[in-house]
């Protein structure tokens, strides 16, 4: 498999068509626009043909306006989200994000005056903030009044005296006695009364003659005493508190009404999202425009385009403007070309595993197909139980069917779904159906109607990994490794042949292949096998250091490479024994659960229930652990053992300039 063919494209058109051409390219979504000023001086004929002195970067002042509008729309959405929360968690998975059809979006964009609405919304936001602030002030005042609630006189008494000063003081409990003592000693005519007390403070009223004011102030300062600031009104504290409560209630009522009004704006938030989407795409266009060059009368776009799309893009652009020039070129060696993977539908889900490692470079073969085959086998080998395979298939199938998932997640789940089938196959031929739950009925009090199932399942089994076939099972795991490594090196060999590097192909991969072929042949026909292997090793010793002039150095490198090749071959293949171990372990672990579960069956009355609970819960947990293990170990075999044999990676995915639906999904009906 190779990646899709991509070409370099230049579009040159008159300046007045700039907006419409970019909009057309965006709606087509098949061209990746790149910065025309980067990588222009590399001596490529098509780019040297431009008169670079006259090409300038575009100046885009209107970008600021769009950004401003975008920001205000986004903050309005965020404000409304306080009252109309977004879908989250399971609800989001079930229903997916908000969506509209293209026509609906079009209608909203032409009819909805979002600027007016945002002004209105800002107004409401101001009101809400204002009400909130007012309520806080009232609450603070109420709080301050509470200690004085037992005082039966209007508060105006405190402020309308001529000769006497009345003060309300909160005194820390620890300072009450010393304060009162000091006050009584210093002030002649002093009257005090306690109104209330809390854990920390006592609230007292003091009354003294105006002549003693200076002394009184000093004493108050000296102790942990805080004068309360009470409003000068003709109401008792209780009355005032009631009054404040009324005001607070009124504010709450008003806030509630506004919030209700805001909650009714569910359709408005959708409209705002459509607008935000639109502005976001406009910004994308402006960013793409920054990548373009301009002269006095024309502008230039540089981009990457899949070869099969060239004709349709050219046609669409000509419809926009007659005087547009589209030219495409074959990418040259060393150019940073993006890649599009091209795989059949059954293999495509495995691209998500490849993506973890890295994408192929342009011109490098895409290893997804080879990897998918071995991943399929490896995963089934590791999970190795038909019961777990069926459970995994049902679980992933249900998720894909019922839930609205992001494309990446869906791809990954599809990969697990397909791989689960492999586990079912492996489980069936090794007789593992949730371990021995159905196949070994000797120690389980199961109904006799269960027996026909046992007969059927046992008929499918022809490998006994826990019995007589244990060594064969191990050899099968290593055999998978041998085949996969062999295939990897073979791919390298063909790749070098295609690149016409015949000597490299002969002395590196071919020598390895000779050595590898000799090993299994040697088991049956030792002389022939040894001859083949030794030939391979001789090739490596003699030619691995072929770029060195010094003959001793060259042989040294050869010997060192042989050491690396042989040990690497052994350790790579032995690494596949993990398939064997995990495959056995998952079956044994399932058996353990079954034994423990049926242990509880003997408990009177509830035994059967406990058995079922243990079976369901424990098998579910072990399903998770086994799938995790199978995925990680199989992936590792691809990444560590398989890929280094032939695959370099380092490419980046083709990301066309297109329409983006960040806020709302545009449905295609």
């Amino acid at each position: 498999m190779t990646v899709e063919k991509i070409k370099k494209m230049f579009v040159i058109a008159p300046l007045e068509h700039r907006e419409s051409i970019l909009a057309t390219l965006q709606s087509l979504g098949v061209v990746q626009i790149v910065d025309i000023f980067l990588g222009g001086e590399s001596g490529r004929a098509e780019e040297d043909a431009f008169d670079w002195g006259r090409i300038k970067r575009q100046n885009i002042p209107e970008r600021r306006h769009i950004e401003k509008a975008y920001e205000s729309v986004v903050s309005s959405i965020r404000f409304l989200n306080n009252y109309i929360p977004e879908r989250t968690g399971y609800e989001l998975l079930k229903k997916g994000p908000d969506n509209v059809t293209a026509e609906e979006a079009e209608k909203i964009l032409s009819e909805f005056n979002f600027e007016e609405f945002i002004l209105e919304l800002n107004n409401i936001e101001g009101q809400v903030k204002n009400l909130h602030a007012k309520r806080l002030t009232h609450l603070t005042r109420r709080e301050n009044l509470l200690p004085w609630a037992d005082m039966p006189v209007p508060l105006s008494y405190f402020c309308r005296t001529n000769h006497v000063i009345i003060r309300a003081l909160s005194v820390a409990v620890t300072s009450v006695e010393p304060f009162q003592k000091a006050a009584a000693e210093a002030i002649d005519e002093l009257w005090t009364a306690k109104v209330s007390e809390s854990k920390k403070n006592k609230y007292i009223i003091v009354m003294y003659h105006r002549d003693s004011q200076a002394i009184a102030d000093k004493i108050i300062q000296d102790f942990d005493v805080h004068p309360a600031v009470l409003p000068c009104v003709d109401m008792t504290p209780v009355q005032l508190i009631a009054e404040l409560d009324k005001k607070i209630a009124a504010i709450l009522e008003e806030t509630r009404k506004i919030e209700e009004h805001l909650r009714d704006m569910r359709d408005k938030i959708l409209r705002l999202k459509v607008v935000a989407n639109n502005l976001d795409n406009a910004l994308l266009r402006k960013k793409a425009q920054e990548f373009c060059g301009e002269t006095r009368a024309t502008f230039l776009i540089k981009g990457w385009i899949p070869e099969k799309r060239i004709a349709s893009v050219e046609k669409a652009l000509r419809e926009v403007a007659r005087e547009v020039d589209v030219s495409t070129y074959e990418p040259k060696e060393g150019e940073d070309v993006p890649i599009i993977l091209k795989n059949p539908p059954l293999v495509r889900p495995y691209e998500s595993v490849l993506g973890i490692y890295g994408n192929p470079n342009y011109g490098e073969p895409d290893p997804t197909l080879s990897m998918a085959v071995f991943f399929f086998i490896g995963f089934g080998f590791c999970l190795g139980d038909a019961g777990y395979g069926i459970a995994l298939a049902l679980l992933t199938g249900w998720m894909m069917w019922k839930l609205k998932l992001a494309p990446g997640v869906k791809k990954f789940l599809t990969m697990l779904f397909i791989s689960a089938i492999s586990a079912i196959i492996f489980g069936a031929i090794t007789g593992s159906w949730l371990g021995n739950l159905f196949t070994d009925t000797s120690d389980k009090p199961l109904p006799s109607s269960h027996l026909w199932l046992k007969q059927v399942l046992l008929k499918l089994q022809f490998i006994y990994p826990l019995g007589k076939h244990i060594m064969y099972f191990l050899l099968a795991a290593l055999g998978v490794g041998y085949v996969q490594l062999f295939w990897g090196v073979l791919l390298k060999f063909f790749d070098l042949l295609l690149r016409r590097r015949f000597l490299d192909a002969l002395f590196d991969p071919f020598a390895w292949l000779l050595f590898a072929v000799g090993v299994p042949v040697g088991i049956y026909r030792p002389p022939i096998g040894v001859t083949i292997s030794v030939t391979g090793i001789a090739l490596i010793i003699l030619f691995a250091g072929r770029d060195k002039k010094n003959i001793l150095l060259r042989l040294g490198i050869g010997l060192w490479t042989v050491y690396g090749t042989v040990t690497g071959f052994l350790s790579d293949i032995l690494s596949y024994c993990r398939l064997f171990a995990l495959g056995l372990a998952s079956g044994i672990m399932a058996n353990v659960i079954n034994i423990i579960a049926f242990f509880l069956f003997a408990i009177p009355y509830i035994g059967w229930l406990l058995t079922i609970i243990i079976l369901v819960v424990a098998h579910f947990i072990f399903l998770f652990i086994n799938v995790l293990g199978a995925f990680i170990h199989t992936t590792r075999l691809q990444f560590v053992e398989f890929f280094p044999k032939f695959y370099t990676s380092g490419g980046y995915r083709f990301e066309p300039f297109g329409l983006r639906n960040t806020f709302v999904e545009i449905r295609k009906d």
Binding site: A585, M589, I595, G629, I632
Partner: protein, 174 residues
Amino acid sequence: MGDEVARAVMAAGGSTLGLALGLLGAGLALGLGATGSSMGVGIAGMTASGVLTEDPNKFGRLIPFIAIPGTQGIYSFVIFFIITVVKLNMLDVKNIHMPTIHQGLNLLFIGFSAGLVEYGSAIYQGKVAAAAIGVVAKKPEQTGKALILPAFVETYAVIALVAALLIILPMKIG
């Protein structure tokens, strides 16, 4: 145990000492492996809770990293289970399979060495998992790559399990 049974066992070459050695091997395998897994899961779990205080939404992504160092405990349990239940038939008290001293020593040494590997690899895998959790915290889109790193340590735990299975499963006891 009655005299008759003892005599029958002796006739087959089995002995109480052999049984004791075998059980010691099973116990060491489980004890060492489960202890190591507890420590490894602990290390990964502590790091994960640190990340969760910053971003509770990463919970789902972090679960596999905490689970990975737990597999050694399961591998040890598999070894323990095969020795005690499958080979020695400990669940059936009247019909325990008695290993010879030679078989008992075999079980002891494979149980001990496998347990030791599970113990060490679980702890170090926990450390790698903790570091990988750091990757997830900063670059959630690289979760896939981060998940592969702890698997390198797991190799040795798997090798120990393979070795133990290869020695124990074909053994004929009693």
